[in-house]
């Protein structure tokens, strides 16, 4: 058959974490991609990381054409991400083309010119290291230096064509003036418009939120919309691909203990492995205790457990656990437990998520407990928080880990929290701990609201806490309105009358 069809656009895996998922494979191979963003949107990091990941993962050499920061500054700044650029230069894996402003440059223009010198230097660098990847950072700087916009635009088009001819995959960065406005200053997108990726660093509720969006991928598919990303010292840009997470985690029929025999009973024989359990309750209802028992139960059945604590310090947690007869220190010494305590405010939600993923990858726990998820609510915007919860829940499920998250309700009795409304559909089980006020006395009630794939006890049972832990007692028989936060007693005769209502004639 005479093939008249051109090969579809092939993609080059960039190996920038998460980016290849959002772009369904990476950057279009052999083409130029414009990466546009406002000041401080991590364009330079992205451009440098594109080359660095190529060197780290596939020994692909790269050429970095800089118009803004001098090479020395770049070598120093990028060292903080763990990229030894000077070493790579010696190994012939990285080459700079320095187009940054020089001390003696005042660029007097006398007559017509082109950017032939630059083009020759790029070609020379590409052939000398046999580069597969090229980054130009940033186009705006060259417009500012040479003033003649039309000539520069025309010349950049020539360079863009030449880059394609050299069969390198390239990233060109450009400035934007606003987060939701023109694609770029100087209209550079008009000549390198095959592909446009936008980096944003928007201010929402006094908090910075970084997102990345693939605006245009000519002739090939990509994920739509904005995806959060983070810039961390250890690895640079990490994109968090939310909707790219597939709903294909395995589910197991294997039961594991909740660490509390009474609660196992309520749940119909314990939690499922690979399930995520949400424990919701007001402050002081026993969420941390339930978390402690969940971890102790895991360690006692020889599982590795990870505790992510956002509310209490290590010392507090350890002391409380001792109070219930659980020795966290000993468990940590045996390598069965890892306790990670941090104030929510120390990092953005995206950074927390990356840290958590790193911890899980490193420690490979069977169980993860988060106490409490609600503490993280105040760090980001509602949208960031929702994305964080989705990202973490799906990640934990993918790893086939039993997860237990706690959520604090804002009111003492009854109530639901923002955390719950985001997470309730994602979790497999929900356990409610509620205060019940009866005759001027605060008592506590526990109920299993939801238990995916299993029968469970539907009663609201009273529970007590003592030095040995949590004990589930009898169901509240003559109290109604516990979950609505307005419990009141009803007479025994009334219960009988209600029973009559549902009895078959």
């Amino acid at each position: 058959m005479n093939s008249q069809f051109l090969a579809p656009v092939d993609k080059l895996a960039t190996d920038i974490p998460g980016f290849d998922l959002v772009t369904l494979g990476g950057l279009p191979r052999g083409r130029t991609t414009l990466v546009a963003g406002t000041a401080g949107s991590a364009k330079t990091v992205f451009a440098a990381q594109f080359l660095a990941e190529g060197i780290l993962h596939s020994q692909e050499a790269g050429v970095f054409v800089t118009f803004e920061e001098p090479p020395d500054d770049l070598r120093r700044n990028m060292a903080s991400f763990g990229w030894p650029i000077a070493d790579w230069e010696r190994q012939g894996l990285w080459r700079f083309v320095d187009g940054s402003i020089q001390a003696h440059d005042d660029d007097h223009v006398v007559g017509q010119y082109d950017l032939g010198g630059l083009l020759v230097r790029i070609e020379h660098a590409v052939t000398s290291v046999n580069a597969r990847r090229v980054s130009l950072d940033s186009l705006g700087a060259i417009f500012n230096r040479l003033h003649d916009g039309d000539t520069v635009r025309h010349e950049l088009l020539r360079i863009s064509v030449a880059l394609k001819r050299m069969n390198v995959t390239s990233v060109l960065t450009a400035e934007r003036t606003s987060e939701y406005g023109d694609i770029s200053r100087h209209g550079v997108e008009e000549f390198v418009a095959d592909n446009v990726v936008i980096l944003r660093n928007a201010l929402e509720d006094e908090k910075r939120r970084r997102t990345i969006e693939v605006l245009k991928y000519r002739g090939t598919l990509h994920q739509k919309g904005e995806f959060p990303f983070s810039v961390t010292p250890a690895r640079g840009v990490t994109v968090i691909p939310l909707s790219a997470i597939e709903l294909k985690q395995r589910s197991s029929n294997l039961r594991v203990t909740s660490g509390n025999p009474d609660l196992d009973g309520l749940c119909g024989g314990g939690f499922f492995r690979d399930s995520v359990v949400l424990v919701s309750g007001a402050t002081g209802t026993g969420k941390t205790l339930l978390t402690t028992e969940f971890l102790a139960g895991g360690v006692n059945s020889n599982e590795r457990c990870l505790l992510l604590a956002f509310e209490e310090s290590r010392e507090q947690l350890f002391r409380n656990a001792i109070g219930w007869g659980v020795n966290f220190e000993e468990m940590e010494a045996e390598g069965k437990l890892k306790v990670y305590c941090v104030y929510p405010e120390t990092a953005s939600l995206e950074d927390h998520l990356i840290t958590i993923k790193d911890l899980v990858a490193e420690f490979r726990p069977h169980r993860v407990a988060v106490d409490s998820l609600s503490a993280l609510e105040r760090v980001g915007t509602i949208r960031s928080f929702r994305e964080f919860v989705i990202g973490m829940t799906s990640f934990i499920k993918h790893q086939e880990i039993t997860g237990l998250f706690t959520a604090t309700t804002p009111t003492l009795t009854g109530g639901a929290s923002v955390t719950e409304s985001h997470i309730s559909t994602l979790t497999d089980s929900i356990i409610l701990l509620r205060y019940v006020e009866i005759n001027g006395e605060m008592r506590r009630g526990i109920t299993v609201l939801k238990m995916r794939g299993s029968m469970h006890n539907k009663d609201i049972c009273e529970f007590t806490i003592d030095g040995c832990g949590l004990h589930v007692g009898k169901p509240f028989r003559n109290v109604v309105g516990i979950l609505s936060g307005n419990p009141h007693m009803i007479a025994a005769s009334e219960i009988e009358r209600l029973d009559e209502l549902f009895r078959n004639p």
């Binding site: 187009g99 003696h104 006398v110 007559g111 010119y113 020379h124 040479l146």
Partner: protein
């Protein structure tokens, strides 16, 4: 005039284009204006990309005044010869009579 004071100019061009030719012709005119008192080197960056890299040439043609100080770099085909001479910052010895500029 000492050796260091000799006016040395290096012209970077890209290949054998009309723009390159214009720049070279203009520079020769300027040499005449200066009574031949300058040394000119023309470098084709296509043949010597490493020299373009060393001098960090972006635009071509670029004229570099190597000596005497101050170092100067001019971009373009040098069509405005009077402007070129004034930008070269040659000091008293090299001022071009106004009449001769107008004659060009």
């Amino acid at each position: 005039m000492t050796h260091a004071d000799v006016l040395r100019l290096v012209l970077y061009v890209t290949g054998d284009t009309t723009r390159s030719a214009a720049a070279i012709a203009n520079l020769q005119e300027i040499q005449k204006l200066l009574n031949g008192q300058c040394e000119i080197t023309v470098i084709d960056v296509l043949e010597h990309p490493e020299l373009a890299e060393r001098e960090k040439i972006l635009a071509t043609p670029t004229l570099v005044k190597v000596s005497p100080p101050p170092l100067r770099r001019l971009i373009g085909d040098l069509s405005d010869q009077a402007l070129v001479v004034s930008l070269l910052d040659l000091g008293g010895g090299f001022t071009v009579p106004k009449q001769s500029i107008q004659r060009l």
